[in-house]
């Protein structure tokens, strides 16, 4: 080991753990990948060995049909990944199976968060604040305008829209992995026990969540509805791409809602033709990002993707060392 932390090297297509020749969330196939969670911009198929939590591996198998080379690690478990480097997977609170990865070599500790949030989520384990030297954080919502309200308020808005429009239906655009299940679980927690109708693209993931112990209640597919009228007054979930698609023509007078952190900004909602914006995100908002950096209190903060300029500025104002990494391929337009 020469210079401190020279064993960890950010490249445009992922973070390279040099002595182990392993990559964290690489955007191209590599022999050895450490994957934080199952979203497509972090988890891709085609790696030799994939080290991830069992839930993440199950999600990847469902989505990319990749079973070969799966190497499961439980939360809190530490594994040697070669070159003297050890990796510990810690809950990130983002979606089912999501992990921060703590890498250690010669007493130097680096955490890569992947995506994370601090708000409570009944569908996944909460973020674990863990001390480290270098904290590599996301910054999807890294602007002070982004503050996500308590989810109960947004769920109440959704339920109100349904009550006010008994002859219509509320169509909620939600990411098929994580967001959809969280919205359903929160609806159930708010006492909504009616059938929730799903776009076909969501079915398998909901089933996977249930297999992992997240109960979602009575779910049915829109394609199995006996008639349009059967869905009047109902809540329907679909991926954001289906909102203004021909698919939605089979629904009874849908009110278009979208569950996303971007809905905080009116123009974003208008661009997508959203009538009922629900500010629900699985990413940390501005306050969560800055609170997390403060609590973890690393020597240095690296910012992977999102609105890194503003978070860098905050670090500067808070007299914290920070740098932005130019990683490609991490997009989260729908969250």
């Amino acid at each position: 080991m020469t210079a401190p932390f020279s064993w960890i090297r950010p490249e445009p297509w992922g973070i390279h753990v040099v002595p182990a020749d392993a990559w964290v969330d690489p955007s191209r196939p590599v022999p050895r990948a450490l994957v934080t969670h199952g979203h497509a911009d972090h988890a891709r198929g085609g790696h030799g060995i994939t080290i991830a939590t069992p839930a993440t591996l199950a999600i990847m198998e469902l989505r990319y049909n990749t079973r070969a080379g799966a190497s499961p690690v439980e939360y809190g478990e530490t594994v040697a990944i070669g070159g003297g480097v050890s990796a510990t997977y810690l809950p990130a609170g983002h979606v089912l199976g999501s992990a921060q990865i703590l890498l250690e070599l010669g007493g130097e500790r680096v955490i890569i968060t992947g995506d994370y949030k601090r708000a409570p989520d009944p569908t996944c384990a909460p973020f674990a604040v863990t001390p480290c030297d270098i904290f590599i954080t996301e910054a999807t919502f890294g602007l002070p305008v982004f503050t996500h309200p308590p989810i109960a308020e947004e769920i109440a808005k959704l339920l109100d829209a349904r009550t006010e429009n008994p002859d219509a239906c509320v169509l909620v655009g939600a990411y098929a992995l994580g967001k959809a299940q969280r919205v359903i679980a929160e609806l159930r927690a708010a006492g909504h026990s009616d059938t929730i109708w799903l776009h076909g693209a969501m079915e398998a993931m909901c089933r996977l969540y249930e297999e992992h112990g997240v109960m979602l209640g009575d779910l049915r597919l829109v394609s199995d509805a006996p008639s349009k009228d059967a869905m009047r007054g109902a809540i329907i979930l679909a991926p954001p791409s289906a909102l203004n698609d021909r698919w939605s023509r089979r629904l009874p007078d849908p009110i278009t809602a979208m569950a996303s952190g971007w809905m905080r900004v009116r123009a974003r909602a208008r661009q997508r033709g959203v009538e009922l914006p629900l500010v629900i995100s699985d990413h940390a908002d501005w306050n969560e990002l800055t609170r997390t950096i403060t609590e973890v209190n690393p020597q240095e903060t690296w910012i992977t993707h999102g609105r890194e300029e503003a978070l860098l500025r905050w670090c500067e104002l808070s007299q914290r060392r920070a740098r932005a990494l130019a990683l490609v391929g991490y997009e989260d337009e729908d969250d």
Binding site: L143, P144, V145, V265, A267, A269, Q271
Partner: protein, 532 residues
């Protein structure tokens, strides 16, 4: 303010016209007086609080938020009011404060001065949540941008109280916010506002574009469509006012017209400046460019009155000597107008002449010459048409001459606002000042942000991002590679631009992905089209 803020928010997320009407109508029925009147004025940009500007808000924010974080946020959100509403530090206990009425807010904003605004506004902000602050800042700085035109608001009023929209429109412009008399009549079943002796606006009759059809000249009369601004000249109770097409009172900009109408009347015509650019000496009118310097002024200097004297070229008569002519056919109104001309001073009035032609083909040939005469095109009016508000099918047509086209190279792109805040949608383009292969340069000749589809906007945005040379805040300088075929109505000399030219109504006609930039047009081609 809560109900108004909720209305504003609902309007933001509603694109359907009917749904917007229903939302506004429901608010107007439920809100108390005078709140609903103030709200109506705010929605139609009828309020002005000179002490509060966008810069006032910006300064308030940068005193509380790091200027760099403010700038990054404002750039992303694309709207000062919204950014400020989101970034304002949440008060500790907003719920403990009683909701302010719209009237109270208006009263407080009216009392503000440039000096007191920065001290008083924070107290107001602290009494609201983000939604309320957004409504408050929009109310204070104007420009709601929620797709509510004055016409839509009037229609909503008519819908809310089941009255005729034409009546609403007639009273509306004679009253001032909060339109107490309008609500007393419409909402509470009182007598119509007493407007006798008030020189009030009457809704304009408008024309449909004549697409690819023909009309029979036995049924339709033709007139030139002059390139000025359409006005209504109204005299009642000894006072004369000039109204623009939208019903704005623009009398202050044209004092020379306020003393020359010798009888009570309502006349429809084109406001023009004396000159010879349109239709030569016989046309008697200067180009729109000359008129433009007279627009939007609160006071007019004697020099300007002398150099750019305004007059009205009359098209129609609505009321005269106490008689309402609107129900009468166009041919009777025309005869009345012709009979009226000798009673009007020629210094400030003339008559829009009819264009006589054998048949439609002959008229088309005459229209083709309009380019040389620098006239906008022709109007076709049904000889039996009454004067009715709005655009009614088959009564009046406008038959504009074809636009001019020129190929320009995109030079700069700016991020749009509102709905387009994540797209580069405003383009500045230029023409070559010589032979591009011999080292000529591009000089900007115009700016446009319309004429493309949403799908094309996405492609253009992608082009801009991939071909950025420099960034200046929201503006990007791009590689000189993409050619636009730009359509425009006319081109004039201008001292404001380095190229010495200014286009009127430029819009993007076609995106020429196929055309190499060096084949775009040169300035000399554009200069050749000037008709000043």
């Amino acid at each position: 303010m809560e109900a108004f803020a909720a209305l504003l928010d609902a309007l933001v997320y509603t694109t359907s016209r009917n749904r917007k009407l229903a939302l506004i109508a429901a608010y107007l029925r439920q809100a108390p007086d005078p709140d609903r009147g103030w709200a109506l004025a705010a929605l139609t940009d009828g309020l002005d609080f000179p002490a509060v500007k966008a810069s006032t808000i910006r300064n308030l924010m940068t005193e509380r938020v790091d200027p760099q974080l403010w700038a990054l946020s404002r750039d992303f959100v694309g709207d000062t009011a919204e950014t400020a509403s989101l970034l304002w530090p949440e008060p500790d206990n907003p719920a403990a404060q009683a909701d302010l009425s719209v009237a109270e807010v208006v009263e407080r904003l009216t009392a503000l001065t440039r000096t007191t605004a920065p001290k008083e506004l924070p107290a107001l902000f602290d009494r609201m949540d983000a939604k309320g602050r957004y409504a408050l800042i929009k109310l204070a700085t104007g420009g709601m941008r929620v797709g509510v035109s004055a016409r839509l608001a009037k229609t909503a009023f008519a819908l809310a109280f089941d009255v005729a929209v034409e009546e609403v429109e007639e009273y509306w412009h004679a009253l001032t916010p909060p339109y107490t008399e309008l609500f007393a009549w419409g909402a509470d079943g009182g007598a119509p506002p007493d407007l006798a002796g008030v020189p009030r606006f009457r809704p304009f009759m408008l024309a449909h574009p004549l697409e690819d059809s023909e009309v029979d000249l036995k049924d339709y009369a033709a007139e030139w469509k002059w390139d000025g601004i359409r006005v209504q000249l109204v005299r009642a109770g000894g006072e004369t006012r000039v109204y623009s097409r939208s019903g704005d009172d623009i009398s202050a900009s044209f004092p020379e017209l306020l003393t020359v109408l010798p009888m009570d009347a309502v006349l429809d015509g084109e406001l023009l400046v004396r000159g010879s650019a349109q239709g030569g000496e016989a046309g008697g009118a200067a180009s729109f460019n000359a008129l433009q310097q007279r627009l939007g002024r609160k006071t007019v200097s004697a020099k300007m009155l002398k150099e750019a004297p305004a007059f009205v070229r009359l098209y129609d008569v609505l009321l005269l000597d106490g008689q309402d002519w609107r129900e009468h056919p166009w041919k009777s109104r025309r005869a009345t107008l012709e009979g009226l001309m000798p009673r009007l001073p020629a210094s400030h009035f003339d008559l829009s002449q009819l264009v006589e032609a054998e048949d439609f083909a002959a008229l088309a040939a005459i229209r083709d010459t309009a380019r040389d005469e620098a006239i906008e095109g022709l109007m076709l009016k049904h000889r039996e048409s009454p004067y009715v508000a709005g655009r009614k099918v088959a009564l009046w047509y406008k038959w504009k001459r074809d636009p001019l086209l020129i190929d320009c190279v995109v030079m700069y792109a700016q991020r749009g606002s509102g709905k387009r805040s994540s797209f580069h949608s405003d383009f500045t383009f230029g023409c070559w000042d010589g032979d591009p292969d011999a080292g000529a340069e591009l000089l900007p000749v115009g700016k446009a942000y319309t004429g493309f589809t949403d799908a094309e906007l996405k492609q253009l945005d992608k082009f801009v991002r991939q071909n950025t040379l420099n960034r200046f805040g929201p503006v990007r300088e791009v590689k000189r590679e993409l050619v636009f075929e730009v359509a425009f109505d006319s081109v004039h000399t201008s001292k404001r631009h380095k190229s010495g030219l200014a286009m009127r109504f430029p819009r993007i006609h076609r995106i020429r992905w196929d055309k190499p930039a060096h084949e775009a047009d040169r300035l000399e081609s554009l200069r050749g089209l000037i008709k000043d």
